[in-house]
Homo-oligomer: 421 residues x 2
């Protein structure tokens, strides 16, 4: 398809979403919850259609020789379908952020000013492979009063269409505009290109996916982007650490789910405890299948450790690989994190509350931990109820992005004829 | 100067600002207030140097034939210098936003999570002509714990350098890094080009100025931009309005300072009151020197009104010109604002509280008013204490941008060995 033809198609879909966004912004909590219930029931009644569409996607992915990890992320079955429906239903119980009065200001001239939470408008989400993202983003954008334009991976195109059809059936049943959840109807990359130029129609782009996708979008988008980019996360074992706790945190942060952005990629160890800590900790990590790459001092303490290169310190492995560095001081650990980290999630293990507070203050990451695993950086784990992802931006939303982060605000001003002098 | 040479110079300055930002993020409220006091005193003691530099800028602007309005904005004198010093001192009394705990979450697993306000990092401000912006942005960024990189208009280059020198002297006197307030040392546009590419060093760009400047920056920046763009503001006189109040609000919103972004550009009048309201209101506006351009119905009611073209409805005049439209209904007014407005500041004049609430809900602007002049959209008028400007973005900051809007947050998590299951 030509870019021109694609653009026309995309513009038409996004214009309808923009139109729908005005209705969604006015939707009551009851209306939105009714829609979520109707969507859950449509997902159930259309389950067989979704599984059929998904089977076609999976067959095509297999014949195209895609990796088994990707095919696993793509594949739906009865239990994953039940999970998809549950995650829609769960949003019903979350508080509606729209209309919340964030702040009230009374001015000496009698003006009453309220800072009120309102939806962002039209949210564009660009993501890869996992079809459950379709229904998750739809339900969170719906509850926060936004319209959403979704552009999933081309390998899950049919699955996403089938899920979106169920979502739109639910919206219609609840008398809300189905275009409030729209899918970009173009399978190739031109669909993304066309989307990124529509800065008068789309208010924000949320990219979720690999580094190449996010880089491309950041560079080309005319629309503000809230990136969900990489996590190069650290655990620093301080000289005053409880070493047993440090070991279990290191193993959890690395191994509990190594393919996530909040998994540890580098372990920093204070030189005063390295000799005692590292042999046991590395043994435990190796038992969980972790490959270790270390600095010279790590290599001197633990036999059989491969050397870590300069590239290792900045690497997001997303795998059972870990780099380890012995540092001479607390300051050296903080400097290492500032230099090589990605300001995502970083932890210190220490019993020294003064050091802990310094770490929490001086490490400039979205989430900073004392004596806990970095794996907790997550909307559910933080008690936000849900998340569309984990922002690596500093503006607007930092860390887990829940319903509140899908809103903005306006100032509502009540007067009685006030004039500016 | 070549782009390459300019880039090197700019990178060096911005790197120093980035380095300084880490120290600023840790500065205590007392340190920052001491710096503000020292800056105020440096501005006083160096007042003659600043005025001399300014006189050179003014002389050059005159010989270059710049407009008298621009020369007026550029010119400093004793009373404007006193105003500059006062605005720095005023920031001392504003609450320090850094370290504020926005939210505390206790999780069932014992994790204690605090959402804590932290500085943005390095703020880039690009602005035109008025030299007082230099000290205003410097003091607000300082108080919010940021470093700032300033790029003022080339016509005020010497004035900005002299003011920045005083600010840096004050920072040094307070033992804070002078590079926390840095001026781009390049006079031509290449300085801006080089700045906009430094997305690893600058966290946000705030452009303040004309449409051309803002458009260029939005299109070229690799750094997130918080635009301070145009205001096409409306006052809607409802059928239930107090017409005397409506007239005084219209005159104030148009005439009190027509060159500002929160001045009214279009007056909408309900057809039921147009016949009574318009003759008197237009007479009052004309008495204040306003040129009227109207729709056909306005022309039929008031003699001598020029026809408004399609372009008039979207125009930001920034001048004593007003377009007037008679609308058949409340809905037509809301639709007109949605179609032609810039979502900046819009007002309804009405005694009908139901209509008022509908207007406040359905008009999607940064500030929506009932029975007050749009001219109040301003950080001081809203009681925020100060502003770096008025954002026309939806993300991060909307409307007046004060100290809070110059911050972001991080999650600080206290654990006792928690692992993710």
């Amino acid at each position: 398809m030509t870019l021109e033809k694609t653009s026309e198609q995309v513009v038409r879909v996004v214009q309808q979403a923009k139109e729908a966004s005005r209705r969604m912004a006015r939707a009551t909590t009851a209306e939105k919850n009714a829609a979520l219930r109707a969507i859950a029931s449509s997902l159930e009644s259309r389950g067989h259609l979704i599984l059929e569409a998904n089977a076609q996607d999976v067959a095509q992915a297999k014949s195209a020789g895609l990796s088994s990890a990707l095919i696993d992320r793509l594949t739906l079955n009865d239990s994953r379908m039940a999970e998809i429906t549950r995650s829609v239903t769960a949003v019903i119980d979350l508080p509606d952020p729209v209309g919340e009065v964030i702040r009230t200001i009374e001015r000496p001239n009698g003006l009453l000013i309220k800072k009120v939470r309102v939806p962002l408008g039209v949210v564009g989400v660009i993501y890869e492979s996992r079809p459950n993202v379709t229904s998750e983003c739809a339900s969170l954008c719906l509850k926060s009063g936004n319209a959403v334009v979704l552009r999933g991976g081309s390998e899950s195109f049919r699955s996403n269409q089938a899920i979106a059809a169920a979502v739109q059936e639910g919206l219609t049943a609840a008398a809300l505009p189905p275009a409030a959840v729209s899918l970009i109807p173009v399978r190739d990359r031109l669909g993304v290109d066309a989307m990124l130029r529509l800065n008068t129609l789309i208010d924000v782009i949320i990219p979720r996916g690999g580094e190449a996708l996010i880089k491309k979008i950041s560079e080309e988008s005319r629309i503000p982007v809230i990136k969900h980019a990489k996590g190069v996360c650290h655990v620093f074992v301080d000289e005053d650490a409880n070493l047993a706790m440090a070991e279990s945190i290191a193993v959890n942060a690395k191994c509990q789910r190594p393919g996530t952005c909040n998994a540890m990629e580098t372990l920093l160890v204070h030189e005063r405890v390295a000799g005692v800590f590292l042999p046991k900790a590395v043994a435990a990590l190796r038992k969980s299948g972790v490959e270790i790459r270390g600095c010279e001092r790590t290599q001197a303490i633990v036999p059989g450790v491969a050397p870590a290169s300069e590239e290792d310190w900045g690497a997001e492995y997303l795998d059972l690989i870990l780099s380890i560095k012995v540092v001479p001081s607390f300051n050296a650990a903080v400097e290492h994190i500032a230099h090589y980290g990605s300001a995502h999630s970083d932890a210190i293990v220490t019993n020294n509350t003064e050091q802990a507070e310094r770490f929490l203050r001086e490490v400039d990451s979205a989430a900073v931990y004392v004596n806990a695993s970095t794996r907790f950086t997550d909307g559910f784990q933080f008690g936000l109820g849900a998340e569309v992802g984990i922002s690596t931006e500093r503006l607007h939303a930092r860390g887990p992005m829940g319903l509140e982060e899908l809103t903005t605000y306006k100032y509502v001003v009540y007067g009685s004829g006030q004039l500016r002098q």
